[in-house]
C-alpha cells in the first residue's frame, strides 16, 4: 500500500535540494558550475597536446586560432585556462568536502564529552587566529609547493568555519524537544547525532560549504599571487593570473581569460550558496 519508507524519505530530501535548483539563482549557479565541470573534464579534447604544448608564437593576442591568445612560452591560454580550471576544481572539490567532514566531526565532538568539545573549540580558535592566506603560506613552506600543499591549506582554512557551525548546530539542536525525547527513550548518543542532529544541521553546513568554495578559490589564487601556488608548468587559475598580471598592460587577454573563468567559478558557487540558503529558509 505504501512505498518503501527509505526511498520515500530520500526522495523528499532530494526534492528539497531540487527546490534549491529551481530558483533562478540556483539554475544559473548550477548551470554555470556544470558547464565549467564539463569544460574541465573535456580539457584533453580542447587541448589534445596538454597544457604545456609550447610554440614559438609568444604572446599572440586573441584570435580565432587562440581564443585567449598565447602566453609567454607560446602556449595556448585557453587550453591552459581549461586545465587550470581542472586544477582548481580538483582542489576545491576534494579539499572542501574533506574539510567539511573533519570540521563537522570536530564540531560534534562536544556531544561525546564536554571537555573534548571545549578542547576542539580551543584548537579551532587557534586555527582561526591564522588568516587563510597566512595558514597557506606556512603549510606551503613546510611541505613544499604543489597540489598537496594547497589541499592541506584549504582543509585547514575551512576547519574553523565548519567546526563552529557544526558546534552551534549541536548546541542548538541537542536541547530541542525531539532530541530530548530520543534521549528519554534511551537512544544512544551516536544514533541521536546521526538521526536527529546531523540531518538538521546539514542545511547551514551545505550553505557554508558553497560559501567556502569561493573562499577556497580565492585562497588558491592568493597563494599563487605571492608565488606559492601550484608547481609550474602545471596551470591553475590563480597561477595564470599571477603570471598574466605581468603582461596585463600589453596582453589583457592573458588576465581576462583566466580571470573571467575564475569569476564564473566563484560566481557559480556564490549563486549556489544563495539558492541553498533560500531553500533552507523556506523549508
Amino acid at each position: 500500500m505504501s512505498t518503501p519508507p527509505t526511498a520515500k524519505r530520500r526522495n523528499q530530501t532530494l526534492l528539497r535540494y531540487a527546490r534549491a535548483f529551481r530558483s533562478p539563482r540556483g539554475i544559473i549557479g548550477a548551470g554555470t558550475l556544470l558547464a565549467l565541470v564539463v569544460v574541465a573534464l573535456a580539457a584533453p579534447l580542447i587541448g589534445p597536446g596538454g597544457y604545456d604544448q609550447q610554440t614559438s608564437q609568444t604572446l599572440v593576442g586573441a584570435s580565432g586560432q587562440h581564443l585567449f591568445g598565447t602566453d609567454e612560452l607560446g602556449r595556448d591560454i585557453l587550453v591552459r585556462t581549461v586545465y587550470g580550471l581542472r586544477t582548481d576544481l580538483s582542489l576545491i572539490l576534494t579539499a572542501v568536502p574533506v574539510s567539511l567532514v573533519i570540521g563537522t566531526l570536530m564540531g560534534l565532538s562536544g556531544a561525546v564529552s564536554k571537555a573534548l568539545g571545549a578542547l576542539t573549540q580551543r584548537l579551532l580558535d587557534i586555527i582561526l587566529g591564522f588568516p587563510g592566506l597566512v595558514l597557506g603560506v606556512i603549510i606551503v613552506m613546510i611541505i613544499g609547493q604543489g597540489w598537496w600543499a594547497l589541499f592541506f591549506a584549504l582543509v585547514f582554512a575551512g576547519l574553523p568555519g565548519f567546526g563552529r557551525m557544526a558546534r552551534a548546530g549541536l548546541l542548538s539542536e541537542q536541547d530541542r524537544d525531539y532530541v530530548l525525547a530520543a534521549r528519554v527513550l534511551g537512544v544512544s548518543t551516536g544514533r541521536r547525532i546521526r538521526r536527529h542532529i546531523l540531518p538538521n544541521i546539514v542545511d547551514p553546513l551545505l550553505v557554508q560549504t558553497a560559501i567556502f568554495m569561493v573562499v577556497a578559490i580565492f585562497i588558491e589564487a592568493g597563494l599563487s599571487i605571492v608565488g606559492l601556488g601550484i608547481e609550474p608548468p602545471a596551470p591553475s587559475l590563480g597561477a595564470m593570473l599571477n603570471v598574466g598580471a605581468r603582461y596585463a598592460t600589453t596582453h589583457p587577454s592573458y588576465v581576462l581569460g583566466p580571470g573571467m573563468v575564475l569569476l564564473l567559478l566563484a560566481l557559480s558557487f556564490t549563486l549556489l550558496s544563495d539558492a541553498l540558503n533560500e531553500a533552507a529558509i523556506k523549508r
Partner: protein
Amino acid sequence: MIRFLVRRLPVIALVLVAASMIAFLLPRLMPGDPAAAVAGPDATPEQITQVRHDLGLDRPVVEQYVVWIKGLFTGDLGQSLQYRRPVAELVGTRLESTVELAIAALIFMVIIGVGIGLIAGSTRAAWLRSAIDSVNTLLLAMPGFLVGLLMVLLFGIYFRVLPTSGEVPLSENPEIGVQYLILPALALALAPASGIARLVQTSMRAVRQQDFVDLAMAKGVPPRRIATRHVLRNSLGPALVAIGIRFGDLLAGAVVIEAIFARNGLGQLAVSSAQTADYPVVQVLIVGAVLIAVAAQLLTEIGLARLDPRVRLE
C-alpha cells in the same frame, strides 16, 4: 568590562602561547636555511656555517625559544636575520602603512557594506533590490586582487585621477596620503563589503518580521525612522561578527594588495621574510596576526554588547 577581559584572560593566554609555539616552530620546520639565504647565492658551506654561528642559529631550539619569549616580555622582539635590525624597528617602520590601509579598508567596508545593506534592506522597489543583489553577488565573487589589478589598469593608465602606486604616510601629509589610500583600500574592501551588505540585508529582512517593528508602525513612526532606529540597529549584530572575522582576512588580503599598489607594508615584509626564512620576523608577524584576530574577536564581543543591551559580557 574589566571583569569580562579578566575572565577571558586564560583563554587568550592559552591561544597566544599556542600561537607563539606554532609561530616559533613552524618556520623552523620549513626546509631551507636562513643562514644560506643570508650568505648569498655563491656562498660556500664554510661561509654558511660562520653566518649560522654569528646569528646564534646553532644553539638548541628550546634555548632559542626561551630567549625569544624572554625578549618578548622585555619588549625585545628579536633581530631580523636578513636586515640585521631589531624586528620591532622593522615592524614599526611598516606598521603605519598597513594600519592605515587596514583602517581605511575597514571604514570602506563598514560604510559600503552597511550603506548598501540598509538600502537593499529597506527599499520596496524590487528592481533596486535585485540590482543591488546582482552587483553584490558579482563583487562577492571578485577577489580583491582582481579588483586591484583592474583599478591599477584603469586608474594608473587610463583615468589618472588617483595614484595607483606607492604611498605617502598620513602622518606626513594627510591630504596626499588619503589619495594614495583610496584605491588600495577600496580594492581590499569591496568584496567583504558586499558580504556585509548581504548580511545586513538579510538580517534586516528578518528583523522586519518582528513584533516590535509592527509596534513602531502602530505608534505611527514614519518608515524611514523605522528603518534606521528600529530595524537597522537590531540588524547590525551579524554584520559586526562578520566584520570581526573579516578583519583578519583583510590583513591577509593586504599582502596581495600591497604588492599590486606598491605599498611597503607588513604584508610585503611577511612575504619576503617567509621567502628568506627570516624566522624572527616571521614568528613575530604570526603572533601579531593571532593577537589581532583575538583582539578583533574581543572587540566584536564588546561591540555586540554595546549594540544589544541584552548581551552581557561574561
